[in-house]
Symmetry: C2
Subunit: 488 residues, 2 copies
Amino acid sequence: MFTLPQKDFSAPTTCLGPACMQDLGSSHGDDLEGECSRKLDQKLPELPGVGDSAMFSPDTSYLSSRGRMIKWFWDSAEEGYRTYHMDEYDENKNPSGIINLGVSENKLCFDLLSWRLSQSDMQRVEPSLLQYADWRGHLFLREEVAKFLSFYCKSPAPLRPENVVVLNGGASLFSALATVLCEAGEAFLIPTPYYGAITQHVCLYGNVRLACVYLDSEGVKVKGLILINPQNPLGDIYSPEELQEYLVFAKRHKLHVIVDEVYMLSVFEESVGYCSVLSLESSVLPLFPRCALCRLPDPQRTHVMWATSKDFGMSGLRFGTLYTENQDVATAVASLCRYHGLSGLVQYQMAQLLRDRDWINQVYLPENHARLKAAHTYVSEELRALGIPFLSRGAGFFIWVDLRKYLPKATFEEEMLLWRRFLDNKVLLSFGKAFECKEPGWFRFVFSDQAHRLCLGMQRVRQVLAGKSQVAEDPPPSQSQEPSDQCR
Amino acid sequence: MFTLPQKDFSAPTTCLGPACMQDLGSSHGDDLEGECSRKLDQKLPELPGVGDSAMFSPDTSYLSSRGRMIKWFWDSAEEGYRTYHMDEYDENKNPSGIINLGVSENKLCFDLLSWRLSQSDMQRVEPSLLQYADWRGHLFLREEVAKFLSFYCKSPAPLRPENVVVLNGGASLFSALATVLCEAGEAFLIPTPYYGAITQHVCLYGNVRLACVYLDSEGVKVKGLILINPQNPLGDIYSPEELQEYLVFAKRHKLHVIVDEVYMLSVFEESVGYCSVLSLESSVLPLFPRCALCRLPDPQRTHVMWATSKDFGMSGLRFGTLYTENQDVATAVASLCRYHGLSGLVQYQMAQLLRDRDWINQVYLPENHARLKAAHTYVSEELRALGIPFLSRGAGFFIWVDLRKYLPKATFEEEMLLWRRFLDNKVLLSFGKAFECKEPGWFRFVFSDQAHRLCLGMQRVRQVLAGKSQVAEDPPPSQSQEPSDQCR
């Protein structure tokens, strides 16, 4: 670990253009679901030290200072998400409701998943599933997870169940890892722009900060590096060489590396190769060829996350897993798992799902990838037709879209105004500030939704941009509320 | 709130005999499952301040100081529970394995529960259950919880879904409440002996302490009072008058009152009346009859917990709920629920279960109570025949047993030796130190198990006590390994 600033600070970065600065005193962009954005006029309080009770308004005096900080994160969840939930689009019941292209969920395969989860092999209810069990997860499930990850991550040797801890989702895992790896006030590095919800996940219980790879904070002790691969919101996939570069950098500074591979099976472009950190052959650090302790990936400091929320489109199922060879870390996380446990019945279902390699390989993944690709192609072509630049890498559920030319001035206030114009026209997006992007004007478009909703959402986007390009400060035309016949 | 010591400190207590002192520097008694006891020779480190990194051994230097503390709780989980899991009794496969009368689980009704959970109405898989949902819990479930608690707690007015937060178990709820109500280092009062696992629940994430009602700690700021009703391990049920006395005391000192009613439907003696804190009519504080803010129970400081782990014998299902009228507290807990969420599928099943009032009232509760009563009667009669004093109150899954006369000296070392003698004779119990009992020699016997296991467990207890009474320091006779024909 080290304390920033550092002179030899030279981590590789995936940042788009000039990397973003993380201003810990300013607004952070994640919401109730950790995906949408937040009102820019609501300030994140300084992450409080314990007992720092004067920081929040006295009207919530029943709560501790950290309780008020925790509540603040909820209350400041952006208007978009709240507005969305009060006015959700429904083809029949509420056709003028809001289309949600803001939350990164895969809504393309509920038919396949509902079918699979309704099969008779899922319905086991037996006493052992209803009783207290190993907090690391039932052994039968950890065995399946180890086999599953060995296969899909192409590990050179079989992964081991004793290195697996299962819990109720990736958010919990970030919370637990931050707590057991860092002291309060320490930080993880994260390439930026990044999935903004991680800010809360490491902070609410753990009081740990995130520091962007380029940053000007002082005196923050950095304990680790978080990589999301495929990246969110960029969709980038790290090449083996890039991964190696990160690992060398981390090793040199004795940093933990948390690799979140939650989109690893959502690479829908066949031409794109995906390389899990678990697939890397163990190698020696170039600088220290004779050092037996200097192996990469560092077995004691590499912690891999995966979950079913994205790759199996089940964010409401709450299943995630850690893979680490560091038994101290596995044990400490397991000790916290009494607060992150999932039902024995769900553990059984997940074991059944993960072991059904035939269905996954022959039905689910081909169909899921084909649907993701079609949806991605549709949104890409719409954007091209509009002459809008965008990034997309053939992975994930989103396209990182450059709407800078639609901002009269390059400020985050203008970005927010444009975002609100979209929302007023009943389409929810995520703005770049929510990902700590440094440049105003970038938006994340989630495309993993049914065609008719996607079509209607893009129609509403077009209306706003057309209105915008015609009369910069005017509201969009009022006909935007009706669904189009083309979107059925 | 106030800082101890206080001159007017006069809380009522349910402590048995002289109440227990909590020595924060000594061993704490909860284990992997929070129910069994821990080796006395392993010392709980002082609860560390943040960054207090010199406290733990350097061999786990990958972890933060709090990570090492968290791991310590896991590692020091007592030998009994670990030994039990390596040698679990099974009637056919391992008849000489260990009988578990240590963990408070109800194993009497798996037949009923398995049947109910296997019915077709439980198998719903629909997209909304697989997607991100309200972190407070799906509304359909919170509505059912409100109706359920209104009915079974006999609330004077219908309880409201907006005051309900559901999450994955009581442990998580203690963790979340401790964090949002207290600063690090502050404390909750708890009548002692108490369910020892709460020590970890409030400490691991929240760094909050427990202070026994009689205590000599200094300078600890007390923020609240925890009541478990029916009590664990005593089985006591608070009368309405006792509850009122606690509430007055708490109100006077501006204390939050957390009432854990996790055994509320496990009152199996019909003659025993149970009074939920939610059943109390709102009244004014006797000392301040004209103060509109002085109502009891204090609506802003009363937080009620319930879960299915005990009353529905499903500790592995991970379902718990908070009921509080304080919307700040509900919101702050909900904000932490992203780390304590439970599957949408399980939420659906729980709503189905809780709304099935016919099955609960006409099948499950009568049968469960009859089986609990029979098991309780059996163990009580065994203890009476042995001339062993015990406490039992017609509620809960356990009997608080006075084995003081079997200790050659009144020390916790002797208590531990006796406990280990039970374990060597293949029966796991919980010793009093695990509940911070001040007097050595008390044990908790869990009776909510199938007759043949209970019979065999009691036979093994008798063997140890007989051996003990004959030759105080000798191991039990070796024939203890065989199951008895009487126990089929």
